[in-house]
């Protein structure tokens, strides 16, 4: 079991969460070329090692998180709220 330290709820089993995907995708502007959109929607770095990825605490607080996790050892380095403004709220409440 992977344990994810949700900033809102505390440390929980990963079975409470659902995996989103690569958290580093930057979607291009609406008038960008088809090639850029294809790249953003379909193509992935698929990193072997530490990567930033999104998880949804779907059976908990239902908030989206950015997790820095190794895809080889499953070790987690950091967990943050997806939304930068919420990150500030979490930090202010510490």
């Amino acid at each position: 079991m992977i344990r994810i330290n949700c900033p809102y709820c505390g440390e929980r089993d990963h079975s409470e969460f659902s995996y989103g995907g690569d958290a580093t995708i930057n979607y291009p502007s609406l008038d960008a070329s088809e090639k850029e959109w294809t790249e953003a929607i379909f193509f992935r770095k698929n990193i072997k090692g530490f990567q930033f990825e999104t998880w949804h605490h779907s059976n908990g607080c239902r908030m989206w998180l950015v997790v820095e996790r190794s895809t080889v050892t499953h070790e987690i380095k950091s967990v943050k709220p997806c939304h930068p403004n919420l990150q500030k709220v979490v930090e202010n409440n510490k």
């Binding site: 079991m1 992977i2 089993d13 990963h14 079975s15 659902s18 995996y19 995907g21 088809e34 090639k35 294809t38 790249e39 929607i41 379909f42 193509f43 992935r44 770095k45 698929n46 072997k48 990567q51 990825e53 895809t71 080889v72 050892t73 499953h74």
Partner: protein
């Protein structure tokens, strides 16, 4: 290599089994080959075999970082079927099934292919309509497919749970020519047959880098020295992205996920078919091996991973699905379970295609379906490398299909790799 036939069995029986030769050589790498296939799994070995057999190209090497049969070749549930409906896919998998039907003779190696029928249960009128559509499309293309009503199903498989009131079994869609094979034997059979035709199988030979010249890959750095290849093929599903980035080619429409499989202790004959149960978030497939073990599996672990080990929540899911459909398995003990790393693609279909490097060819993205595809994968990948243009069946199985909008999405699940089960 001693051929397997009645004469040699009798001769060796009388001589203390002392005249058998080794199954394949263990050659030192040559400095260059016409074609180098990276990846000594089923697809790489099959490719080398068909390059030699169909195209008479015998100066071929297969590079394997571990040992033959040690990767995904030995990490699957050995199911062979061709119940696909999308153009390209159904022709491809049907050809694969036809190759399976003659594979033991073709390779002079008993791959223990057993056409015991693949039985997909359905549990609602909507599911029946949906699967009937797929199986009708298969019939229109000449593939065998039939529907079993509840009475037939109960007669054929009496010990399914027919009293599940939440998901009552209404019947099953069946492909009778589908079945199982012995996965080790397929790997060894292809390795032995390819080796006999002159292919060098280089084990413990890990690729560590590429040297480029004039846009092409000139040579491959490996743990057993530098090897040159006029043409190079990748057949390393699970680790395709790693090799792709080693060749500085950027991103791929692939995520690596792991899929678990389970083997129980041996029991007396219990199940004659491959049974598939998929409803209400559960996904479960089971068959019984010739040794008597129940072999079964379920969904991916649901998060990206290169680790060849499974996680416990999926063990629980699979056990729950097993109990829902096969309550008689409740006291059976697991002998072992493992996970294989799969290339999960953005539309659930594979790649057999050219790449931005003109002497590099790609075979990847096999999702859940790599085992059954092995013979045809080798056949059409060899065809692509030899003729330098894709066969009609795989003309859309390339990296450009996403930009062009010709996704081959059998499930209609959209661009999320983990959903293409």
């Amino acid at each position: 290599m001693t051929k397997f036939n009645a004469w040699n069995v009798i001769k060796n029986g009388l001589n203390g089994q002392s005249y058998w030769t080794r199954q394949w050589r263990d050659p030192e790498p040559k400095s260059s080959y016409d074609i180098v296939i990276i990846g000594g799994g089923l697809h790489g070995l099959a490719t080398a075999y068909y390059l030699a057999k169909n195209h008479n190209i015998k100066n071929v090497a297969v590079l394997e970082k571990g040992w033959i049969g040690g990767g995904n070749a030995g990490r699957n549930t050995t199911i062979v079927r061709s119940n696909y409906m999308m153009p390209g896919n159904h022709e491809f998998y049907e050809h694969s099934l036809k190759l399976w039907e003659n594979l033991s003779h073709e390779l002079n190696y008993n791959v223990m292919f057993s056409q015991r029928a693949h039985v997909s249960l359905f549990h609602s009128p909507g599911a029946k309509d949906s699967i009937s559509r797929i199986y009708n499309i298969m019939r229109l293309h000449g593939t065998d497919a039939e529907l079993w009503d509840l009475k037939t199903l109960k007669k054929k498989i009496p010990h399914l749970n027919y009293h599940n009131s939440r998901f009552p079994i209404l019947g099953a869609a069946v492909q009778k020519r589908a079945g199982n094979a012995r996965h080790d034997a397929v790997a060894w059979g292809y390795a032995r047959a390819a080796d006999t035709l002159g292919v060098d199988i280089l084990q413990n030979c890990e690729v560590t880098g590429f040297t480029r010249k004039n846009g092409n890959i000139e040579s491959i750095q490996t743990s057993r020295g530098i090897i040159k290849g006029k043409k190079i093929g990748f057949a390393v599903a699970g680790n395709t992205s790693v090799l792709w980035q080693m060749a500085e080619l950027g991103n791929l429409p692939i995520e690596s996920h792991k899929l678990q499989a389970f083997v129980s202790e041996a029991v007396k004959p219990l199940l004659d078919q491959v049974v598939v149960y998929g409803v209400g978030g559960a996904h479960f497939y089971i068959s019984q091996s010739d040794k008597g073990s129940m072999v079964f599996g379920g969904d991916l672990d649901w998060y990206k991973s290169y680790a060849q080990r499974g996680n416990l929540p999926m063990v629980q899911d699979v056990a729950e699905a097993a109990m829902a459909i096969f309550p008689s398995l409740g006291r059976i003990r697991l002998l072992r379970h493992w996970a294989g790393v799969m290339d999960m693609t953005m539309d659930g279909s594979f790649f057999i295609c050219k790449t931005p490097i003109s002497n590099l060819y790609l075979n990847a993205g096999w999702n859940y379906g790599g085992f059954k595809a092995s013979p045809a994968s080798g056949w059409y990948f060899a065809d692509l490398i030899a003729n330098e243009s894709p066969h009609n069946y795989v003309q859309n199985h390339n990296l450009e299909r996403f930009e062009k909008g010709i996704n081959i999405d059998e499930r209609g699940a959209g661009p999320d790799p983990k959903l293409h089960g």
